[in-house]
């Protein structure tokens, strides 16, 4: 009475085929990651040493380390964050908590989506035109970081707005009904409950900013600087640009060094992502609703 009919068996066959196809597609997605990371570890691993991380390049960048580039990347990311996080979080707060649903708000949202879609090389040229030339900052960490900030602003805004909107509306209503103003509501209830999501977004932004090459290429990154940057008005080396340079512009760089730089860069990015995920899991555990 309950045995499988031909129709049942046919359904199962189709279902198994579908599952196999989806599984293959998923694997296809993982393979490049494994190949990239594997190659970098095998070929670049031997180059990694304390000396590699903490000394400057020597002999036309064919030997020595990457310390100035590491420091430069930290500078670029830090200054970019200082510029983009306050602006991005404030904008997201306005859009999520204050803005009425009208034509202006919708236009702003559209602008943010479009800003996120602008290619990084266009951001780079915008950075040259606006920061380096028009505001006359010159090629410097400041100009490069501002360019990076403009580029990552939409990411910060979208991530922040999403975590703000994840705070249940009932909490806001509870506050408003006790006579709290919007700002008091934000300060006491909305922000404390969305800060984990906001920070996650910020850390993800760090990893993205650290890896970008095009926006800093013309605005502040230099192929070789003998000294560490002393202020935001100096030019600097940076990991991503250093990699681009020794891989394509410089001859005689041992393969090991190139792969070593790539390995360090990808490690920074993956580490940042891992921190971000760990942080999110930890903070989610603290939430009580």
């Amino acid at each position: 009475m309950f045995t499988a009919t031909t129709l049942n068996r046919r359904s199962y066959r189709t279902q198994n085929v579908a599952r196999a196809v989806f599984f293959l597609m998923t694997v296809t997605l993982v393979i490049p990651v494994l190949i990239i990371v594997g190659t970098l570890v095998v070929k670049g691993g031997p180059a990694i040493s304390w000396e590699f991380l903490f000394t400057a390049p020597r002999d036309g960048m064919t030997a020595g380390g990457i310390f100035p580039a590491l420091v430069g990347t930290v500078w670029l990311v830090a200054v970019a964050l200082l510029a983009s996080v306050p602006v991005g979080v404030a904008a997201a707060l306005y859009l999520s908590e204050y803005a009425p649903d009208n034509l202006l708000t919708r236009s702003i949202n559209l602008a943010i989506i479009n800003l996120a879609g602008v290619p990084s090389i266009v951001h780079a040229l915008f950075g040259v035109g606006a920061f380096v030339l028009f505001f006359n900052i010159g090629a410097s960490i400041l100009a490069a970081s501002l360019t990076l900030a403009v580029m990552t602003l939409p990411v910060v805004i979208v991530a922040t707005r999403e975590s703000l909107q994840a705070v249940p509306q009932a909490f806001r209503e509870a506050c408003w009904n006790m006579g709290a103003t919007r700002w008091q509501t934000i300060r006491k209830v909305v922000l404390p409950n969305s800060i984990s999501g906001i920070l996650t977004g910020v850390i993800l932004e760090v990893s993205r900013t650290a890896g970008e090459t095009a926006p800093i290429m013309f605005t502040g990154a230099a192929a070789f600087v003998a000294f560490l940057p002393a202020s935001v008005f100096d030019q600097t080396m940076a990991m991503s640009y250093h990699l681009y340079y020794i891989a394509t512009q410089q001859t005689g760089v041992p393969e090991e060094v190139t792969f070593g730089v790539a390995l360090v860069l990808i490690s920074i990015v993956l580490l940042m992502n891992a921190i971000s995920i760990g942080f999110r899991v930890y903070l989610r555990g603290l939430k009580k609703w």
Partner: protein, 264 residues
């Protein structure tokens, strides 16, 4: 009351005159004239969509948050027109507390929940001692019959309480700012029968100290736990009288039909 301005007992707690309300093009309230007497419990009954909740939410102007709401007519609370230009919404919300269908404690400790409104309004004007806060905390929780249950876990998150306790807490946190009117939007509908009974008992206990306007779907509840009863239908008030009168000798045949369960 401390503010002499509100101390005039000659007025009704809530009084609406010719109140019409539209959501966009849809008219939800028609010429509502309602007088809610002070210090008693008034229940509002009627089928879904009859305008009970709309009317309740108009009384503290929370309805405006929807943006596409338009009203004509007047609403006075304690003798003061709350639609007047000089009205500060924060002051309105202080005087008129609201309890929602689903308990909505904030995701902070029980203590912080109870003291939330107080800290917002009072503690910013003057220095408040920890002892005073503790006193307010205890008296508010005592008033809602919750003190004995939670006194040992005041610093635990309020979201860990049962729904019944959460709803009591939501009432308790209104009390430190000394409201006069409590609006309750089906405060028991998310609770089990025992919780409903406990909260009803609490509402009955608060009677006298506060004017309570309560929307309910539960006719037995309206009958048990209110002094006066308002029956609404399609945006109009059909009947308003003492609860016993409305249930035993309804004047209007529509009221009778509803109470006897012929629709709703």
């Amino acid at each position: 009351m401390a503010d002499g301005d509100y101390g005039d007992h000659g007025h009704h707690a809530i009084e609406t005159r010719g109140l019409n309300l539209w959501y966009g093009d849809f008219q939800a309230l028609y010429d509502v004239d309602l007088e809610v007497k002070r210090g008693i419990i008034t229940s509002m009954i009627g089928p879904s969509g009859c305008g009970k909740t709309t009317l309740l939410r108009t009384c503290n102007r929370i309805i405006e948050r929807l943006g596409y709401v338009r009203t004509t007519g007047s609403v006075s609370v304690l003798g003061h027109d709350i639609f007047a230009d000089s009205v500060e919404l924060v002051q309105v919300r202080k005087r008129i507390g609201m309890v929602f269908q689903r308990p909505n404690p904030l995701p902070i400790s029980i203590r912080d929940n109870v003291l939330f409104g107080f800290r917002l309004h009072e503690a910013r004007l003057r220095k408040v001692s920890a002892a005073e806060e503790d006193e307010i905390l205890e008296s508010s929780l005592q008033q809602v019959l919750l003190w004995d249950t939670v006194k040992d876990r005041l610093d635990k998150p309020a979201t860990g309480l049962s729904l019944e306790e959460q709803q009591k807490l939501c009432i308790a946190r209104l009390l430190p700012v000394k409201p006069e009117v409590l609006l309750m939007d089906e405060p028991c509908s998310a609770l089990d029968p025992a919780g409903t009974e406990a909260v009803e008992e609490l509402i009955w206990k608060l009677r006298g100290d506060y004017t309570i306007l309560i929307v309910t779907h539960n006719m037995a509840q309206a009958r048990r736990a209110s002094d006066e009863c308002v029956f609404m239908l399609l945006g109009r008030i059909i009947e308003h009288g003492s609860t016993d009168e409305v249930f035993l000798r309804p004047e209007n045949s529509q009221t009778a039909d509803y109470i006897e369960g012929r629709y709703g």
